[in-house]
Amino acid sequence: MSLYPSFARPRTLADAATLLASLASGGVVIAGGQELMPSINQGVLAPEVYVDIGGLAELRGITETPEGRVGIGALTVHRELQTDPRVRAQLPLLAHAATRAGGGRQVHNRGTIGGNLVAQHPLYDIAPPLLALEAEVEWVKGRETVRQPLAAMLADSRHGLGSEAILTRVLVVPMADGLGWAYEKLKASGGAYGSANAAALVKLKEGRVAAVRLVVGAVADRLIDASEAAAALLVGRRFDAEAGAALAGAVSALVAAPLSDAQGPGPWRQAMAGVVAQRALAAAVARAGRG
């Protein structure tokens, strides 16, 4: 082991996976660097080995998979999520949420979807829409390729930065025509982060809610999937003021341990979780109605 870090830029995914598996500890995957470099610069992280996956063609591109999913390579940057015609047409919720990510154009140009998800950061804007869309993620670890629901990845902290596994692709079923969607980000500070975020999807039948997905972020250390609570309250009903108030109350009640940080104090965050949920649902319903 050396006092100074070393660096490798594998040419293939297989090489990268083998290399990571061979490093006992201290190997850190880097691509755009937007998540990692602030910690390196501040001395919070001091990796022994950088494994630069930026050259791996296998991790690039946005395609349609044989089973009809949108397959988004892990190196896809936020800017591509905002502008790619396929993402805009088939996953407008994701394309829109990517415009709300912090850091400005400079960060949107370099920050990857893989880095965003692997960071497992409760205040980030990409996981809530993807969880609402029931996305799956694909990993390579050693010789193994694993596919799992994003929900399972988010529940497992071993998938964070510094993991031996490489996130390769995000797979999402295209949104059906007429599906209402919205992403609400409530910003109370001048910074990049929301104090409460909500991603909503809703299907209407004759003006009544037929199906709903709802995910709330930035209020607790994990995202809150409020879909079941929302369905129990709303399916079969019109989304009116009364239903909205009931939803807000139910969502706030799901926030057991609210975050208390620069984005606001815990009790207020808990209340705002309900507010963004109500707003997101209202906007999604309005969009479904227009559709």
Partner: protein
Amino acid sequence: MDDLAQSVLVQWRVNGVLHELDVLPGLSLLDVLREQLNLTGTHMGCMTGHCGACTVMIDGRIAKSCIAQAATLPRAEIRTIEGLMGPDGRLSPVQQAFWDEAGFQCGYCAPGMLFSAIELLAETPDPTDAEIDSALAGSLCRCTGYQSLRRAVRAAARALKDPNPD
């Protein structure tokens, strides 16, 4: 198997000039531009990606050089604020607009504001105020209160549409 390197050879064209450099793993592009190439117009404000004072263009897209790791750019076309003026030493139209509208006071934020305006106007020649605000959102200015920056971007948009007004 890939070799683990203690330093990485990179080939960059910086403001049109080709450089071959050995860079240390972990170093930011900002460090290398300022310390190895003496291009100190790219400013260091925070090193955490918040302030935008370190903004450059990498392969035609703007980026914060403090959070781009130099070694991850084996080959790149890089443009810094030093590369904005014309060969005759004249300010570029966007720089001129910021000058005319007193867009800056101390100028520390200039790399972020200028590059953000340049990228915005290349894609959106007629931006709304909301589009200007969102384009500048990755850069902080401690002096101006942002009003003059907005004015400068509007003036730059006019100048780029009609380069020779009389």
